[in-house]
Symmetry: C2
Subunit: 274 residues, 2 copies
DNA sequence: AACACCGTATCATATTGTGGAACGTCGATG
DNA sequence: CATCGACGTTCCACAATATGATACGGTGTT
């Protein structure tokens, strides 16, 4: 085959692995990315791919034939129905607990502390998984437990996208469910900091002498569907360590999100599904 | 390249188009289908594809590299996170009204009658689109209208998957919303027939002298997310014609569903999302 | 230890994919 | 009404890319 004229490196600066011996497949797969925000005409598509119109057309047609692309006569190529089907199937195969487990174990191993995974359940945080740390610290939580949102790191992480207007109601609900009585104004002020930082702390508000760092997990829709937290005795968790750990906890949460189809940079999509 | 040893026709009886000149891409895309029900080991995958282990491995790796497959060390290959991302994006691009329009127009043109598209809105049928037929018949419906479920073909089609236990409540709600007072037992008996047939009729229950044939539209999850109906004056709609049209209406509804990622044969998935 | 299983790497071969160019087809423009 | 331009489609000679036989290196099982 003739090679592309001095197109050794892509002009659009993207650097994708070669995987040697699958050029056609990789080009086809990458083509789907070029179509993610609406219909694209063949000419634009070939320009974006750095390929000739012939090649682009052949690939696009193959993708369309299998339903990965839809061709709209006067608009261009668009994501096709096959992706809806496979996306749904992938969704049903994606069990958060199973997906998250290895990442959580790695985090627990590195930090030697206890890691939790949980999600929102009406107005409580439901604990889905727990990896005990190496240190002998009693963290009195069990899988299946429900804890108040306002007084746990995990719960606060779950709320990071919730509009502030809804905070008072949730705060009250938490108090009714056993959260300690603290001043709302002070709590909300701290929450604003957590929202800005993208993670949440828990500073002995719930169980005495336990501190934790928590971060939200997002799925393909960008919504927060779960959160993880790393807990330890306050003696092992001074402010400096919490700050140091927060990046790692966020990174782990983001990795899990990526496994679930979340795309870090993508336009935030906060609207609830349907 | 060496060709596959006498593997001219696939053993698994599937017949897929050639599209000449995209073998690698097509093989890769088809590979995703072999993985739809859980992790598959490399050996099984190559067997299912009718390819050598080498080739299978190369393709699977390319797919995994781009996130279309996930490799689980001791289980095999599985649908990957990229499909979740693209599936979600495809979903947000898939506007039912726009997708359905050409199909509805074709149906309206063929039958010369009025076609409606609608979906469930709490306990009413919300009309999303309307293509007037050629015949001059007053169908007093407008886009945005809400009509009772129990007394419209469209509404009944929307209920075809609803457990019978919930029928009485919905029937009562419809009556409260203006549906004519008919006998529940008789209505339920007719509904059972519609459920078995996969389509619904409306026989002058709502507007006098109007009859219609309706069918449900399913999405990738298998759930009924909308319905279409074909309405005409009773004089043009004798029982024979209704029977003849029901197949065509169902076919159109199914085509729209396919555009939305629905797969005809797939295991029915009735459980609500989340 | 020997074995079976599974994923990975290598490499000569020619099949497959490539891109240039020409063709159709539709609307818009002069 | 003719010409043009934009866009998708088809064709084809050429060689780069994809292929599959074979061999390798892990890990758990007998």
């Amino acid at each position: 085959m003739r090679h592309a004229p001095s197109n050794e490196e892509s002009e659009s600066g993207e650097e994708r692995t070669k995987i040697q011996g699958s050029q056609t497949l990789l080009r086809g797969l990458d083509m789907l990315d070029k179509v993610i925000d609406g219909p694209v005409k063949l000419a634009d598509l070939s320009a974006a791919m750095g390929l000739t119109r012939s090649t682009t057309h052949r690939l696009a047609n193959a993708l369309a034939d299998r339903g990965f692309l839809t061709f709209l006569p006067r608009e261009g190529y668009q994501l096709g129905p096959k992706l809806l089907q496979l996306g749904f199937l992938a969704q049903s195969q994606a069990d958060i607990v199973r997906i998250a487990r290895p990442r959580l174990e790695a985090l627990a191993a590195r930090s030697e502390d206890t890691v939790h995974l949980g999600r929102l359940d009406t107005d409580l945080a439901l604990y889905l998984d727990k990896i005990p740390g190496r240190r002998r610290v009693d963290i009195s939580s069990r899988i299946g437990d429900r804890h108040p949102l306002s007084s746990t790191g995990l719960g606060k992480a779950l709320l990071l996208d919730t509009p502030e207007a809804e905070w008072p109601a949730l705060f009250e609900a938490s108090r009714a469910r056993g959260a300690p009585a603290v001043d709302y104004a002070a709590w909300a002020e701290r929450m604003r900091g957590y929202v800005a930082a993208g993670h949440a702390y828990d500073l002995e508000e719930n169980e005495d002498l336990i501190r934790c760092v928590a971060a939200p997990v997002r799925d393909a829709s960008g919504r927060i569907i779960a959160a993880i937290s790393l807990s330890s005795a306050a003696q092992y968790m001074d402010d400096a360590r919490m700050a140091a750990l927060s990046g790692e906890v966020r990174a782990t949460a983001d990795q899990i999100g990526t496994d679930l189809g979340w795309v870090p940079g993508a336009r935030p999509n906060r609207r609830p599904r349907r």
